[in-house]
């Protein structure tokens, strides 16, 4: 399958993607084969259902949101994404290399992606409700609503510097200063 799919991928396209995302050609080919295997309808683009068909993603508490993030392209939501867009999202999770140029995968890009996981309404703020929703997804029914809202309150209070009861992106970054985001939000894509 890998051979066949890489045949379908034009050389110029590989180079274009490479320059845009920084993936190596072999990585691009490997991911393209993954892309086509996900693409059940063989129409060169992925729909939401294609993503949700992945069994592990179905049990992932945040699976929905993650899929959503793929479709949020260029300030708009699209019904289907093509390989180019698919790669653009994935490129955020390339590990940062010190000596090379880092496109799309800087620390801020990674943080931005995590931030968007919370920020549903795209107002560049995590409100209490948004945080609660994510918390609820993650810890599920194990913790009572009261405790959850307590946690949410506390989290916001902790991060909130300007007192607007929301976590802005800047505040979000500040709270994660100590965390090794570069490492945590990277995947070693196989060559």
């Amino acid at each position: 399958m890998g051979n066949k799919s890489s045949l379908m991928l034009q050389n110029e396209e590989i180079i274009a993607i490479q320059t845009e995302t920084g993936f190596s050609p072999s990585q691009i080919e490997r991911l393209y084969s993954r892309f086509t295997s996900l693409d059940k309808g063989d129409n060169g683009s992925l729909s939401r259902e294609d993503f949700l068909r992945i069994p592990e993603l179905a049990i992932n508490p945040l699976g929905d949101r993650i899929v959503q993030a793929f479709f949020a392209q260029n300030d708009g939501y699209e019904e289907r994404i093509n390989f180019r867009q698919f790669m653009r999202v994935l490129s955020r999770f390339r590990p940062i290399k010190k000596n090379r140029e880092n496109k799309l995968n800087s620390r801020e890009d990674k943080l931005r992606f995590a931030f968007k996981m919370y920020d549903l309404d795209d107002d560049q703020k995590i409100s209490r409700e948004e945080l609660l929703a994510v918390l609820h997804m993650m810890v599920g029914s194990n913790i009572s609503t009261e405790q959850l809202s307590n946690i949410a309150d506390r989290t916001i209070m902790e991060a909130d510097k300007d007192g607007d009861q929301c976590i802005t992106f800047e505040e979000f970054c500040t709270t994660l200063e100590r965390t090794d985001v570069e490492e945590k939000m990277s995947i070693r894509f196989l060559h």
Binding site: L38, N60, P95, I143, E158
Partner: protein, 855 residues
Amino acid sequence: MILGVIIGLIMFFAGIPDDKLQPLTPTLFFLYMLPPIVMDAGYHMPNRLFFDNLISILLYAVIGTVWNALAIGLSLYYCAKLGIFGEPLPLLDTLLFSSTVSAVDPVAVLAIFEEIHVNEVLYILVFGESLLNDAVTVVLYHMFEGYAEMAYEDGIESILPIDYFAGFASFFVISLGGTAMGVIWGFLAAFVSRFTHHVKIIEPIFVFVMAYLSYLSAEMFHLSGILSLTFCGITMKNYVEENITQKSHTTLKYAMKMLANSSEAIIFVFLGVCTVNDNHKWNTPFVVLTIVFCLVYRAIGVIMLTSLANRFRLHRLNRVEQFIMAYGGLRGAVAFALILVINGQIIHAREMMVTTIIAVVYFTVFLQGMTVGSLVKLLNVPRANKGELTMNERIHTRLMDHVMAGLEDISGMMIGNYKLRDKFRHFNNNYLRVWLLRDSNEMGNSSRKIFETCSKLNLQEALNIVNKQNLYLNPNSNSNNNFLSPNKGLSALFRTYTQTNLANLAADTDVSADTSPSTVIPVDHNNGFNFDIGNLAYNPSNKDLADAEIHHILNDAMFKPIKKVRRYSRSDVLEAPAPHPPFQHQIRMQIRHLVSQQQHKHHKRKLKKLNKSDSNSMTPTSPPNGFLSVNNDFQFNKSDNYLKPDSVFRSADCPHTDSEDGGIEFIARKASLDSSAKQSSDASKTTTTTATTATESTLPWRREPSNPDLSSAQVIRQEEFPPWIDNKDYLPQYASPTNTYLGKLSDQTRPDQCEPSLMSTTRTPTVYEIFTIDESRENGDRSNSASSQGSSQTNKEAKRDAQPEGVTRGRFHCTTASTPDTDSQRDKQLSPTVAVNLGFESDDDTDDKDVIYKL
């Protein structure tokens, strides 16, 4: 180790025969010394880190150790062949020796690396390697020993190729079998711990016994006991921690640490003892070459394997980290114990090997171990960032885990850490936890961590508020602001505190109270002459307020004292220690007080009837509610005192010219009996009689009605109170900070005024009575007086503990002496209240008016 050397010297010169000089027998070491150390390491292994780096660790532990053993062994063999050592060494002997010396020792590594706090990846790599390669070493050692035995008995030719293959296969059987055995025992231990909560005393014992059993059973089947024990610890940790009680957990933790540390110490002592004896055979080239080979091959191995591991690792190990890893290859007790076990008949060069091992251990532990810390500093190795994770970090990290797991799915990674972890978590939550945990429905492991972090931070924040508010005292702000800020802090404080238990809380305040006197006094200095008595009144910090609250709660919930009939005579009052001679003003106040008492008596009788009907209709409240309502009640009182001067004026209006002398009997205490009920009955009246400001409307006296039941509701909880509550011994040493506090105050006011003296006299009970009785005469202020009476009485009681007291005790009473901290804060908190009342009172009397305003 040095101690061991000393002991060894003593024994050596005492002429103790040699056969007694070998205290460390293999059975002793492997059955008793090693298990505690390994168990401690396994149980306290940071699971996540360990499994994140498992592949790298295995790489280093297995391949690295085998490489080291073979390389050192072969090198020594060829050196021996070249005749450097002056005596022939067969290949098997050198291999046997090298297999013991190649293993990095967990004991030494743990001791050294725990101190220098390198970053956690580095730590887990070295430490994990040292743990796992013990198994490899033991396997290699037994393998070579077996070959050596065969060679000794039947000659080298008898070893068939199948034996080599068997040795290789046995390695996998031993290590994997040991791991499996450990996991099985771990689950078994977790399962058992599910039922041991009935027998709390032996709960920790179960854990130890199960772990030890895993070790023994693995050894019984000739599997690796070390691996078994390590994985047993790793497996059961999560489940056991949730199943057993907190106390058992603490016991377990410390007992384990203690056992491990003592084993460690004993091993080093033995090592020292063995240093000094006759049997040494120092072969300089052998020793030097061994050390050199150890260092060189370790360095080569690390560099080779790291370059391999870096291809798969996300976090690439740089040169510095590689260097520390290579340098941190400390040899220790395991190598020493293994070499002691060697049969001297089979291996002829045993003495030389023992000597060499001791030299190697000394070299690595002392020289390398001592320098590695400074090297870490010198090379600027990233240190571990210490400190608890914040709430945000926890949640966001969790989010990232999920996101990455999802992305690994999407990008089609076959094996990814996140994916595996997610799957394990799923499996764990669905199956394992159901079987292994007592309350499997509670919450997931990681959710629990989130929650724990939350409550921990809550508590910390509560303390922070307390400390901050201590400093945040703005004397020039107007009364409302000044009142509101502590109020807000208080409610936040109590909201957070209700989650923790009372004992905790008392302990916390105990600590923070120590600093309070020093922090309050400087504020007085800042004020200079612009001292406003109103502000002073609300200067008590949140901590003070909280302490007072806690004190009241404790009082409420404690055993009711045996009611002694005590009587206060006038002489008692005068005997009370007064820092100043009685001023004219003071005397006048006393007279006033006597007068008001008379009236108060009458008033109270009426109230009693009222209360009885009231309290009957109350429904009991649960302790937490009671806790809150006390808080509200308290705030309410404060607000009443502070915000509603009108009512206080009215109370001051009451006739005090009536100089009827009723004898000083502190009848106010009787009033406090009913005070709680009074509050509820008068709460509505209070609101109507006074103008409702914005502040007041926010004040929660709708919850007042629950007050009368506080005492009954909270008596149940008395077991929770810390033992010091009952400690009367605190009292004699107790010195009230009020003196200093008020002394400062009087220093700053003009000497010709009598108000300072009045302030200082607030320590004596007399003055309290004045305002309390005055106010309680007024309908609208009864709730106010209730609490102030309570506090005044407890205060008084603390002061005059040895003196006989009159009249039955009130609601806020307790037989036990108050502890110093609550006492001190109560003083501080109370005296301003008194000051306000007096101030307003005298404001009404025209002759005192100027005094107030000058103040």
